[in-house]
Structure formats: C-alpha cells, structure tokens
C-alpha cells in the first residue's frame, strides 16, 4: 500500500546521519523531525535564523519573536543559536548545511525542480528554495508521485518555471525511493505492497529499475 505523508517522512528520516545539520522545507519535510532515530544527533536549521529548532511550544508559552520559516511558533533546544539572514544563507550557500529536504510540484529526470510558481494561478515566491537547491550537495525531494488529478510529477522535463537546475539527487514519494541517474530516474525501493508496474505507470519520465531494487523497510 502507498505510504501516507507520515510514512514518507519516516522513510526520509532513515537518510539522516549522526552530526547532520538539516534544513527542512514546509509540508511533508517538516514531519521528518518526528522520526529522528534515537541513536543519532542532528540539528535543524530554519532559514529565518535559527539552528537547533525544537518542537512547538506548550500552549501559553508561544513567543512571537521565535518562529520557523513557515512562520509557526517554535521552541529551541539546548545548544541552539539565532543569527541574521545573511549568516543563515552563508550556512546554506557555503555548504555547511549537510542535507536539504524540500517539497516540489515537479521534478525532472535530470534533477531540475519546480516548486515556486504556477503562471497565472499561483505566485507566492521562492522564499529560500532557490538558494537551498543551488547550493546544497545533498537534496532530497519529498513529494507525492502524482498530483490530485493523477498526473505524474516525475517528468522528462519540468513544465513549470524552474527553482533550480540539475540539483535533485533523491526523491522519496508515497510509492518509491528514486535517485537521479545519468539517463533518468533510478528506482531503488518500493513502498510496502506497491508493485514496480504501479510505479512505472505513475512516472512520466524515464525510469530504470535498479538491479537490487527492494521493498522499503521500517
């Protein structure tokens, strides 16, 4: 069966490594913080200027001066720090942040990503996404395989205005774990009970099946 959003987050959490500084985007990526393995230490960076982000505050303890990039009230953990926006993007551009996890509207088989604009429909802006995808060495896209109309979001070429070019390395959806290879998507893992055929049908771009393709384990 296909994973739900929490399942996607749980599978992504397996990619975290001890000592990682991680930037989480809005949506499914935010849920990854709920599944950090106990035996590793990671710190979450929010580009509005905090490292060492903690959970939401208890009711009544929220502080308007302490928010994340989604403008949600948050707390900080021991060892946290605050900094200005230029310093925050120095961490990102300077490759000090180890892993970026973000959502996407479309991803192409060459690693292009589109997630900031639908011409004539939705123009909210790119926020920090263009800086993040242009600089991060390690980008995981967390998204649904198809849109609400059932159309694949994994394409040969993106139709929407791009956020970044050739930057995505790994995509984790409700159906599969895929890498970007030299000639298309590479299917590495299937969600529990999901067939390879199902994934091929939901993928509009070229999809190669890895020799050691296997089911995700949790």
């Amino acid at each position: 069966m296909a994973l739900d959003k929490n399942g996607i987050a749980q599978r992504i959490a397996q990619e975290l490594q001890d000592g990682y500084y991680v930037n989480l985007g809005i949506g499914i990526p935010t849920l990854v913080a709920n599944y950090i393995p106990n035996e590793i230490a990671v710190e979450f960076q929010s580009e509005n200027g905090v490292l060492g982000m903690g959970p939401f505050p208890f009711e009544g303890e929220e502080d308007a001066d302490i928010i994340n990039a989604g403008k949600q009230t948050i707390t900080t953990l021991d060892g946290a720090s605050f900094f200005d926006s230029a310093t925050s993007f120095a961490m990102i551009r300077g490759k000090h942040v180890d892993l970026t996890i973000l959502g996407a509207m479309e991803v192409s088989q060459t690693g292009d990503i589109a997630n900031w604009k639908i011409p004539g429909k939705m123009v909210k802006g790119m926020g920090g996404a263009m800086d993040l995808v242009a600089s991060a060495e390690n980008i995981i896209v967390a998204m649904m395989h198809t849109n609400r109309a059932g159309v694949s979001k994994l394409l040969k070429k993106c139709n929407l205005p791009l956020t970044g070019v050739g930057c995505v390395k790994k995509i984790i959806t409700e159906l599969a774990v895929m890498d970007i290879g030299p000639t298309g998507f590479i299917l590495r893992e299937t969600a529990p009970g999901v067939s390879i055929d199902e994934i091929i049908k939901a993928t509009a771009g070229d999809l190669h099946i890895a020799e050691d393709v296997h089911e995700m384990s949790f």
Binding site: E59, A69, I74, F89, R93, V123, K124, G128, G164
Partner: protein, 233 residues
C-alpha cells in the same frame, strides 16, 4: 558618544518622500518595524518601492501600506498570505520583483559593506537569472546580483542604546542587522532604549555606526502569523 536618539516616530521619519525606496526588516510579521509602518500609513507617502522579505498580511505589517495603495513596487522573496497583494499584483497595479531569499539578504549586506555586486549560484537557469550576467567559477554557474540602493532602512531591534548599538531577540533578528547601514538613512525602533554604557559592548549585534536615528516604541502588537502549540497532556 554620538547620540542617535530622536524623540518621536515622526522625527525619525523626517525626509521620507513620495517615490522613495525603503528597506524594511522582518520575516513574516516577526521583527517588523511596526511603528515606522504605522507612521508611513499616517503620512500617506505614495509611489514607494519597498524591499522586504514579505509583504505582511492584509491587516498588518506592509499589508497596511498595500491597503492604501502606497506601494508602487515590491521586492520580496515570498508574498503568500496576502489577498490584497495578490489582487494588486495580478491586476498590474503594483510591480513585483520576486528574488531568492539569500540573494535578498546578501544584496542588503553588500550595500551595507560597500560591495556593488556579487555572484551567487541561486537562481541560475531560472527566470530570476534572465537578463543578468552569468559566470562560471569552479565548474559551477553563478548569477551577478547587485547591491540594493535604498533611501531609508526601517529596522526593529529589541534593545538599543543612545549611541545606536543594537541587540536583537530570537528570530526577530532576521534581515534587520543586514539592512542597518544598507540605505542612506537607517532608522531603528527598539522596545527598550537605554543610556550609553548600559549595554555590554561584548553583546552588541549591530554597532551604532550603521544607525542614524533610534527611538523607543511602545505597545508592540507582535502579531503571530501561525500560532502552533502542543498540549501538555
């Protein structure tokens, strides 16, 4: 000690005129110069170009200037959460330039630090890079971005002293320190203005040299955009 204090918000905004370019600190509604925005609304200056990460919400922050159609052009990185903004943008009443958030911060910092321009990888291969000079460094393509050129910067800090030295709190820091000294005149509002010598020089986030005018604001609303909490049980 060079004293930077002014006693009222109207004195702090002296010289603001129609058609000027203004920079405003803040991320969402966090760390925005509430008192300066209220005064801009009161004096009804128009045709403004505003540089700020966001455009507020319909009833607060820069949204208040939008309601009165005081903004001619907005330079921002993210403008969701604001219906009036979207309406003015789609109808063409207001010009909007969306730029990457790190580029926005760095264009302010470059202006502060005296760099005319810099190369960044952000936006290469996207519509953000259209018409801009691009160049390869170490096998990677970069876009040339220019420092901002603004008339006024409006800043919100937590504490400040008479000399203009500033301390920020939490994530209300955001773009504020980068915009200090990045415009011809930097105007700072603080929640607590203290005498020179009261702040530990070791703890200063922005030295007073970047500040021209400082005043204390009262009754900060500090509206929360997304109140997220967990229950104790």
């Amino acid at each position: 000690m060079i004293n930077k204090t002014v006693s009222t918000v109207s004195e702090a905004l002296e010289g603001v005129q129609n058609g000027m370019t203004l920079m405003l600190g803040g991320f969402g509604l966090c760390g925005i110069p509430e008192k300066a925005i209220a005064e801009l609304v009161r004096i009804q200056v128009t045709n403004l170009t505003c540089i700020s990460n966001n455009a507020g919400v319909d009833t607060f922050g820069l949204g208040l200037l939008l309601q009165q159609k005081q903004i001619k052009k907005m330079i921002a990185s993210y403008v969701g959460e604001n219906a009036e903004f979207e309406r003015q943008m789609l109808s063409g009443e207001m010009d909007v330039e969306l730029i990457p958030q790190g580029t926005l911060a760095e264009r302010a910092r470059a202006a502060q630090a005296g760099f005319p321009a810099f190369y960044t990888p952000a936006g290469y291969g996207t519509e953000v890079a259209e018409g801009k000079e691009v160049r390869e460094f170490n096998g990677k393509m970069h876009v040339l971005e220019q420092a901002f050129d603004a008339d006024f910067a409006f800043i919100k800090a937590w504490k400040g002293d008479e000399a203009g030295n500033l301390i920020f709190k939490g994530t209300a820091r955001n773009f504020n320190p980068n915009m200090c000294g990045a415009a011809k005149i930097t105007v700072v509002e603080v929640e607590e203005l203290v005498s020179a010598g009261s702040l530990d020089p070791n703890q200063i986030h922005v030295p007073g040299i970047f500040v021209q005018r400082i005043f204390e604001g009262t009754d900060y609303e500090k509206r929360i955009e997304q109140r997220t909490v967990r229950s104790k049980t």
